[in-house]
Subunit: 355 residues, 3 copies
């Protein structure tokens, strides 16, 4: 269950550096590519001539040329030309609003008339030389909302991520969940603890004594439909925690964008943005590699959970206080989906209209 | 959608040189083997004793012996014997009309009473020392009719087979489609062009200057339900094209037989027969290897097309003039299928009767 | 089709020596582990908190702790604790009667109130130093009853197991099937034959001349729902066969326990218990390896048979006299299943009640 009138990350900028890319997003087969002047474009991955996958073709003069018989498709879904054929009466296919921001390609799978590029999230670090970012992509066989739950309740770190970012004090520290406008915020503070291995390495990289007592914070912020940004970090104990001066802390933002593929699978774009040693490329790569390994530990858990939920569709799960963040997040998602249903009922189904 | 009262290639002669072969053909599980005196035989791949796959057994005295408990099945589907058991009352299984011709085993999946070996296609080159033949088999996850479309519209060579048999002039040369009796013929002539790489090699092999201007032809001939033979070649420009004297041309017949496995998959027997340097075994192998590589480029395209058509079952595809060959071919197929339905409605379902 | 009120082997003792084990048994997802004092325990593989697979967790103080958020599940399916949460009102999950005997973990998937550990089969050799046992586990994609058929009709050895335990005389020797209480017994005696390779090795290991004429026996004993024990062996000809003195024979018990996973797949626990050279560990391993190789030959046959039976669901198979053992075995199974249906109809469905 996902809203369609929203911006989702379709791919990273790198993924369409060369060839077009075919990817199923929110249940729709999409061909993504760079059109005129390198501008990103997205159309249905379906050639109106014989149904070939346009993503297997190539870009010619800014248009996507079908790799089967040479039909040239415009970025707006209108056929441009085809050798020896008159294309005036050819049916259009659907094109999608897309925009490239922050190293990602954002796609709006719903009603194009509602797509406002201004609502693409601003990511503070993306064009700021004081920040460094590294990340990756996982294709996961579970409902994207299970990943939202996962990220809004970091209690699991104490169990799934033992030996890296997990530590016993996570359990012992209560979480607080609140709304900030349309953002769900779940925070947990651990005071005067020894940092777990991942953060000890970050302290060392940042010139701090890794054995020192620290205050540790985790502040997850969910914005519908599939964005979770998490302020994470440690500061020398008593220096103000999240508010501590830069020289007393090592901190970062865990970046998570989930894009549904189907009702039971999703694309998980993960990464970490940090404000220390931004020019240290080797450190970026080391963090990226470590985060990738840690986050891959969630995959087995989530995919087994998905299978279990499908096996026992009638079971009601428990929502404890640690689940409050996920519960609130789902409430926002539900509300958006419900609003789209209401809109569709009163106004037809504009989101499937050809642009 | 495929007619059942027709000869289809079940396998090559080589495939049953030793062990029996189990293969699904036109939706039916068949065990193919060499019976008495090496004569090909085909029965349902189902032992009437306990349902074991007969194709896992072996041939004993010209009969197929089940590899599970030793039931001996006759080539006519009647049980011959079983150790310590009286077999008089055993039910028959279905046997299929089969015949070995031209290096292939042909099977008639429909009403055995209608099977006439005289209607197995004559393949001019198969027993003629002036010809050489090489080929292979691909198992493709798409409706066999998509491959018929592919072969009846060689426009795709300009896109799918760039760098081998594709060339830009293909697009620029109009195709003509006509009926010759029950055969659909689509032809395209390119005059005074430079040959593409594949044909330049053939010219070199045939003692012609590969850089010379040539007239190139492609004449696809479809015969229902799954046969496409394509006259292909080049002749020195102005020497008469397809009619040019042997010393001025390099030509061949592309051989294509498609046998449905299911509604959405098929066995594709492909090859090339040539009338030059027939004794040059290394050349035969080189051509076979090159053709196999070129034809494998179609697989991704066709399988993605099949998935797309299943995803969008309501879309109507376009039939342009380049598609006329495929359209005519499907019309012939439809007519045969419709005739079988009519026959079944008036006369029961003889094609499923045990022979 | 399988009865639920019965003991089935869930796993070997070794399989849960360390980590918990998740396995689908009789259609139910089960987490198996060693609880308090190493005592085996089994609960539904479903955490009542968020549906995670409990088998991915670990055992803490004799309880299974969920690996996702630390919920501690008791061996009785009642939640013990969860960090920072009150667990009083948490729903129970199902627990299963289990017992460890003879190196196996036995599970009762049905109504726990009917589970009587006294009905777990006694296996003579398991605690007797005069016996040695070696075995393994195969996961097979076929109805467990096809394996029962297989083991109750060893005629197949002459075909499937040529070169190891198969020999032509198997076919020539009639089988006899009788009931001994609730046990189906099928026996076949081959008199004055040369032993096949497997038994020649056993004779050699047992100090007998492998070339000598022997009397060979196979006595399969089926007990519902999934147990087949087979007395197998050879004795020097005329020394009394199965009753011959130990120094004149080489004999063993083939051990087979089939546990349904789904209606069309099962877990096959196989092994061999022998009463000669019990301390010879290398011999145990050599036999185990040989038996594993021989039994793996059945897999292709049985899985192809399963596919065939699903393709032709309306075909009636033949039941010959060699099939009498399997027919009787299925009759016992049918009777148990029917009795459970009757019980469920009159008394609700107690077997699904939470213990």
């Amino acid at each position: 269950m996902f809203p369609k009138n929203a911006w989702y990350i379709a791919c990273t900028s790198d993924e369409i550096a060369g060839e077009p890319l075919g990817r199923t997003l929110c249940g729709q087969r999409v061909a993504l590519y760079r059109g005129h002047g390198g501008k990103v474009a997205a159309v249905e991955d379906f050639c109106p001539h014989r149904g070939a996958a346009l993503s297997l073709g190539r870009v010619v003069d800014g248009n996507l040329m079908c790799g089967y018989h040479g039909l040239v498709m415009g970025c707006d879904g209108k056929v441009v030309s085809m050798p020896m054929q008159r294309v005036g009466g050819f049916p259009c296919i659907r094109s999608y609003p897309v925009a490239e921001r922050h190293g990602f390609v954002w796609l709006w799978p719903g009603d194009a008339r509602l797509a406002d590029e201004g609502s693409i999230p601003a990511l503070a670090w993306s064009d700021d030389p004081e920040w460094a970012f590294g990340g990756g992509l996982y294709h996961i066989q579970c409902d994207y909302r299970l990943m939202v739950d996962n990220l809004m309740d970091l209690t699991h770190e104490a169990y799934v991520h033992v030996g890296s970012i997990g530590q016993n004090e996570i359990d012992a520290s209560p979480v607080k969940t609140r709304m900030e406008g349309e953002t769900v915020v779940t925070s947990r503070i651990m005071e005067s603890v020894i940092a777990p291995p991942f953060w000890q390495e970050a302290m060392r990289a940042n010139g701090l004594d890794p054995e020192a007592l620290v205050d540790r914070w985790q502040i997850s912020r969910f914005t519908a439909p599939g964005q979770v940004l998490i302020d994470v970090g440690v500061a020398l104990a008593g220096k103000g925690g999240f508010e501590a001066a830069p020289e007393h802390q090592a901190s970062a933002v865990v970046v998570d964008f989930m894009t549904p593929e189907t009702e039971s699978s999703h694309w998980y774009f993960w990464g970490m943005a940090r404000r220390f040693k931004p020019a240290d490329v080797a450190l970026t790569e080391a963090i990226r590699e470590g985060q990738g390994r840690i986050f891959s530990q969630d995959l087995d858990v989530l995919e087994a959970q998905q299978r279990n939920l499908q096996t026992f569709p009638d079971r009601r799960l428990l929502a404890l206080n640690i689940d409050a963040g996920g519960v609130q997040a789902r409430r926002l998602i539900d509300r958006l989906v419900q609003a789209e249903k209401t809109m569709a009922a009163t106004a037809g189904t504009p989101e499937t209209a050809v642009a």
